[in-house]
Symmetry: C2
């Protein structure tokens, strides 16, 4: 399988697949003409990477997940711990964004939004931190 087909089979752009090879996540064989030749096992790994990345795991976490995927003697607790940590990461990111969203939409609401220059948003951005 050439890289284009591997891309279609995994949902990853060819550029990204080459990048994953560069950083050691996958190592397909080469044909005599220099083209990469992806096996079914390679495709499985690429799909695994696509799905892991889409769930928010970093490349390093994907590396770890792949090694657990390969490890027939893994403990599922290790995988679960990784997933739970990621859930906590995502939750704290959500909380942070919600706080931002509250602040910012309150500011936006307080602004008349007309053609005059007076603007509570600008005033807030320029305000002294101690005045918070």
């Amino acid at each position: 399988m050439n890289i284009g087909d591997a891309g279609r089979a995994s949902g990853l752009p060819a550029k990204t697949i080459r990048y994953y090879e560069e950083i050691g996540l996958i190592a397909p064989e080469r044909r005599s003409n220099g083209y990469r030749n992806y096996s079914q096992t390679d495709i499985h790994r690429l799909r695994f990477l696509q799905r892991s990345r889409s769930l928010g795991f970093t490349i390093d976490e994907c590396r770890l997940l792949l090694s657990l995927y390969d490890d027939e003697d893994r403990a599922s607790a290790d995988v679960k711990a990784l997933a739970e940590q990621k859930v906590r990461d995502i939750e704290s990111k959500i909380a942070e964004l919600q706080s931002l969203q509250r602040t910012l939409s309150a500011l936006a609401q307080s602004c008349q939004g007309n053609d005059r220059p007076e603007c509570p948003i600008i005033d807030d951005l320029a305000r002294l931190p101690s005045v918070v």
Copy 2:
């Protein structure tokens, strides 16, 4: 005011302040010894930047906000539009993360988390997209 004091007054690291100068967000005077010398106006701008960035505006948006801040003839509607767009950006980011969070915590919950290798999380990551 030297850069260290400017940093303390604005809540920004000196490194960041130099970077902001490099990309043209601020242009303090220089003393005869080459040290940057920040005026009160500079400090206001730095605080404005610190606050805008902390509210999630990109550097380019901060550039625009600063120009509105400087513009005594601004229309507050322009500022409000920017803030509202940012609120929408944040909301869609939150929705995306919530969807991730639901998927991932359901996966984590489905896993026994013991010392056996069977793991629905790994199975999901490896599954065919069509099986979704």
